[in-house]
């Protein structure tokens, strides 16, 4: 009788340890992902994205035109550089907005190194979202298991 109990306790312990290790392993895998997930959704809220796109577009044009204006003043070539850099500024603004809004997969600016920062950022977030989804599905699985037991 006592041995029987011992054996059952031991097998219980082994089972618990196994599930604990598993939880720990997945928990470690999810650790950084969760950090990403906690940051991602707020930065991507619609209004802030719109504000970001607008300000990036306008600031690029302003900087482009400003560079052109300064070069014109320096070289007395009014208004050649102003016109040229204004359009470069517009292109940079469009570039910024494309980069900001393009999905992590494709997008015309994907090969641009500056966009890598954004891509790396989004890549950092993606596992977070996947982790969240995974967590959601595992939660559902746990929920259904509970239902079965009930």
């Amino acid at each position: 009788m006592a041995e029987d109990d011992d054996e059952r306790l031991r097998s219980n312990l082994a089972r618990l340890r196994g599930s604990l290790d598993k939880a720990r392993a997945t928990g470690e895998a999810r650790g950084p992902a969760r950090a990403g997930a906690s940051g991602a959704p707020r930065g991507d809220s619609g209004m802030s994205l719109a504000m970001r796109a607008a300000s990036e577009f306008i600031s690029a044009i302003a900087v482009g035109a400003g560079i052109g204006w300064a070069l014109d003043r320096l070289l007395r070539t009014n208004p050649a550089f102003l016109i040229g850099f204004f359009f470069i500024g517009v292109a940079a603004g469009v570039f910024n907005v494309i980069r900001l809004t393009s999905p992590k997969g494709g997008g015309p600016a994907q090969d641009s190194p500056l966009s890598r920062a954004e891509a790396a950022d989004k890549g950092g977030r993606r596992p977070g979202l996947e982790g969240a989804r995974e967590r959601g599905s595992s939660g559902e699985a746990a929920g259904s298991a509970d239902d079965d037991e009930d």
């Binding site: 950084p32 969760r34 950090a35 990403g36 906690s38 940051g39 991602a40 707020r42 930065g43 809220s45 802030s48 504000m51 970001r52 300000s55 990036e56 306008i58 600031s59 690029a60 302003a62 900087v63 482009g64 560079i67 850099f85 470069i88 500024g89 292109a91 940079a92 603004g93 570039f95 910024n96 090969d111 641009s112 190194p113 500056l114 890598r116 920062a117 954004e118 891509a119 790396a120 950022d121 950092g124 977030r125 977070g128």
Partner: protein, 257 residues
């Protein structure tokens, strides 16, 4: 007639900088202004929060300790997700910037206080600090390799000069959009709040009694806007710090990796 009795509305007045402690050294004005005072206050509040949180004299973490730990975890997660594990060497910098902006934004909610971040001088100084950190750290760590940031791979040689010019303009526009976003959000939010607050007083003090109950409408709007502005204050501080991380990522990994 109603306008005669109503107080003059000047939504910009709240942003005026006035000396609090006049200091004049050798003909130059070094006075401590209300802006400087509230900056010191923000730094003091942050230090106090962290000092109380880091005391940890009891085994069970209290409220302040949980707050400090959450602040650390949140910022560390942001730095790691945007700039990778190497980005953690910039953690103190990002944390300081984040909490300075956040506390300045939040202090601005108290009546008769001053919103430091509603002045572009402050946000531009912070954005330039980030920008120059990126440039100098990038050049120091990677030398000329840092300039690969401006040369995207796989671009045909005949349009490369144009693309490089666009990339440079795009790079130089970062501190502008970085600073203007925070400044414009705080400025616009505080002006909107002031205007709606003034509407309440104007309608409440209207000489036609029938108009007085209508003061409830702008008041409800102001309450809603207050909540929205609280969100914006958090969000803009977060976005400011997040972009700082992303720009620092460029200094750590120029040309991607």
């Amino acid at each position: 007639m109603a306008t005669e009795s109503a107080p003059a509305i000047n939504p910009i007045e709240q942003f005026s900088i006035e000396p609090v402690v006049p200091i004049h050294i050798a003909g130059h004005d070094f006075s401590l202004t209300n802006s400087g005072l509230f900056m010191l206050l923000a730094v003091g509040v942050t230090c106090l929060l962290m000092a109380i949180g880091a005391r940890g004299d009891s085994g069970v973490p209290g409220r302040m300790q949980s707050l400090a730990e959450m602040a650390y975890e949140f910022t560390a997660g942001m730095v790691r997700s945007a700039a990778g594990e190497e980005g953690m060497k910039f953690f103190p910098f990002v944390f300081s910037v984040f909490f300075f902006v956040l506390i300045c934004n939040l202090i601005g909610f108290f009546p008769f206080s001053f919103t430091v971040t509603s002045h572009i001088v402050i946000t531009a100084a912070l954005a330039l600090l980030v920008f120059l950190t990126v440039v100098f750290f990038g050049l120091k760590e990677h030398g000329t390799h840092f300039f690969k940031t401006f040369v995207p791979p796989g671009v045909p040689i005949y349009i490369l000069p144009l693309v490089v010019a666009i990339e440079i303009v795009s790079f130089l526009s970062r501190p502008v959009s970085h600073s203007v976003r925070l400044f414009a959000n705080m400025l616009a939010g505080h002006i909107t709040l002031y205007v709606f607050g003034a509407f309440v007083i104007m309608l409440g003090g209207a000489s036609w009694a029938i108009l007085k109950p209508a003061a409830v409408l702008p008041f409800a709007m102001a309450v809603g806007l207050e909540a929205l502005e609280l969100l914006v204050a958090f969000l803009q501080a977060y976005v400011f710090a997040m972009l700082t991380c992303m720009y620092l990522n460029d200094a750590l990994h120029p040309g991607g990796h």
